[in-house]
Amino acid sequence: MVSMTSQLDRNFVELTSRMTKNEAIEEANRCLYCYDAPCITACPTSIQIPNFIKKIASGNMKGSATTILEANPIGASCARVCPTEELCEGACVLNSSTKPIKIGHLQRYATDWAMESNVELFTKGQSNGQKVAIIGAGPAGLSAARELSRFGYDVTVYEAESKAGGLGNYGIVSFRLPNEVVDWEVEQIVKLGVDIKTNTTVGVDISADEILQQYDSVILAIGMGAVPKVGIEGEDLVGVHDAIEFVRQTKIGPLSTDFVGKRVAVIGAGNTAIDGATCAVRLGADNVKILYRRTRNEMTAYHFEFEFAKQDGVEFKWLTAPKKIIGNDAGEVVAIECIKMKLGEAGADGRQRPEEIEGSNFIIEVDAVIKAIGQTRFVSLIEAFKLKHTNGVVDIDETTMQTSHSKVFACGDVVFGNGQGEAMVVTAVQQGKDAAYRIHERLRKPSEIA
């Protein structure tokens, strides 16, 4: 008799398996080795993709892993979580003639080799006496830390969580990205002498002012916060979850058996909503519905995520907006009242605005509600550094990565939004590199800095 917990554990095991050596070499040999390859251009971190693939084909695994991780310090995670069909594989010229090279799988094959062989690929640079503080040990912060350490900076990373890794360890569902991969990436960066202070919340354990005083430069890479209030009745009932926190729980501790056989409604249709919904399915929920006030066409989840959720049995209810969450006397969720919507005139963002159809209210009986309608911003921390921001999105000069405080640079999700950047791990990694390069350039050319 298999226990329920171990059955659930199996649901969270990484879904795709690694290529075999034969598969990898066969696929690598299919790569055309394009000149000025569009896959490189499509990669936010500009990995020299044909080169790393050629190296797999020639048996130069160390070189292959180095090529990847040189351009992308979080390349093992990105191999698993990048929306490759939107990026490198989508740009592969073979889309027009046969089928694209499985770049993500090959990248995983090469980075898995690096993980298992445990060779040293990068070394800390000779110290230049400069100190940099990085707030947040997510993809952006870690990427900046790796580059700065190679340039010879003394880098300290402040992380509020008990482990570094950020989204990788707390936000990306385990069946896409196991924590061991993230832990390995963190370990590589620690090996370069980067001091990661976990369980250290800036603003609580150390003030923003102290950091500004103690370091030559500061990189703010704090990401985003919890899901905001939907603004409907019943949000405080037992059984209403924040999708970010809901996924986080599946990453950090023993899996909850509370959802087995339950009916779950997810509010929102972005990639986080899909994560919440598919995690609910994998926690044993009997029925999971995604409620979205617009239609499939406006949905922000990637197409492959949508397909994945459908294969997991998630139901999509389009043009459906929640009106109120209904509880019982014990304060537990029993249902959600919704209203049918229709698409009206286009709004300022060009998308058709959803409008309620009067009198179309209806009730769906559910045991749990997961909210996935975006994320809040760490406004108080941003303000503690006295940085200019727009609705919690830190304003930066996109060329210099500098905030309104000349000593403070920002990258990752903290600068995502309002038309600035894209919320992908791989974008955050590139921004982290960029922030590191800008800091380094400033050091090398002090006279040119106004």
């Binding site: 080795y33 394009c34 000149y35 000025d36 569009p38 003639s97």
Partner: protein
Amino acid sequence: MADLRIDLAGIKSPNPFWLASAPPTNSGYQVQRAFEAGWGGAVWKTLGEPILNVSSRFAAVSYNGQRVAGFNNIELITDRPLEVNLKEIYDTKKRFPNHAIIASLMVEPKQEKWHEIVKRVEDVGVDGLELNFGCPHGMAERGMGSASGQVPELVEKQTHWVKEVARTPVIVKLTPNITDITVTAEAATRGGADAISMINTINSLAGVDLDTWNTVPHVAGKGAHGGYCGPAVKPIALNMVAECARNPLIDVPISGIGGISNWQDAAEFMLMGATGVQVCTAAMHHGFSIVEDMIDGLNNYLDDKGIAAAMDLVGRSVLRYSDWGNLDLNYKIVAEINNDVCINCNKCHIACEDTSHQCIDLYSESDRPMLKVREEDCVGCNLCSIVCPVDGAITMVERKSAIAPMTWNERQSLIGSLSR
């Protein structure tokens, strides 16, 4: 249904596909399985004084994941007693009277040795003889195989000795390990050969093991050169066949050998003058059943072309093969890129830019990447169309020349006549 039968100097077989003298034709069991699979003939693994073989004999070269692009061996001639081979040849011929069985022979370059073995194999009913003057390893060190085959006088003399007693057609198998194969081919013709076959294997070392630094293959840590064959040698073999076919002094039929892997290769050899082909590596790679597509494909090709018989293909391209000095200096082709088919891998651009004549430009048209050939700089080298991974994206097209055709030889004789 085309007539696939061939007649090579009087040796008849139901189709042009023979197994070459090699490991696949080592025994009656194997040759009978081959005939059941459809092979038209078999050249029995070379008979002679039984030898000793070494362990670890083969090696192959993979290219970009494609196995057996080339094949290397250090196996010698038959290691089984002559009586056993003769009995099995007799049994096989009895079971398959319409299939061709040719005995490959190799003995010391002595008249009586040749006389003796020819009589013995002809007594069991072979359809022809093939003199192995090609084997490049082991036997050559004992003065046989390619050691004989590299000396035109020895080729001629030994062929002559065989012809003194042979009642069946005699094929002389030539080694490519020689500067000009037509010299030994002519010697064989002078010696009275009824046909020649080529090529035997090319001296080779397949590789070096990068961990142990041993040769590949090795025998207890030591290696020796082997003979190279398989798809990689096809162009070398095809040229040698063609050179012999267009040489008026070599007026005997040719059995083509060297990297033939499918019906297309076979048809190419036949167009270049081979009256049928011999195959080994393809069978060693895939088994005897690959002959099925060879037969079927050749038949369909002949039907599509409206050619009634396989023999009608033989030599049809020979006149198109000549010396460089006879090529028209004023013929001009250029590359033309079809951007609707092009997938923008830019391989043509970088190949031309880095390694040829810098005449393919990258540009963009309403944000779409495009490629264009600057015709005035294009020399028609074909490189771009060779590296292009997509059929139809690059076509080499003729540009009519305003100048009349003229070859180098014509030009030189014209200059000569003007200066007189």
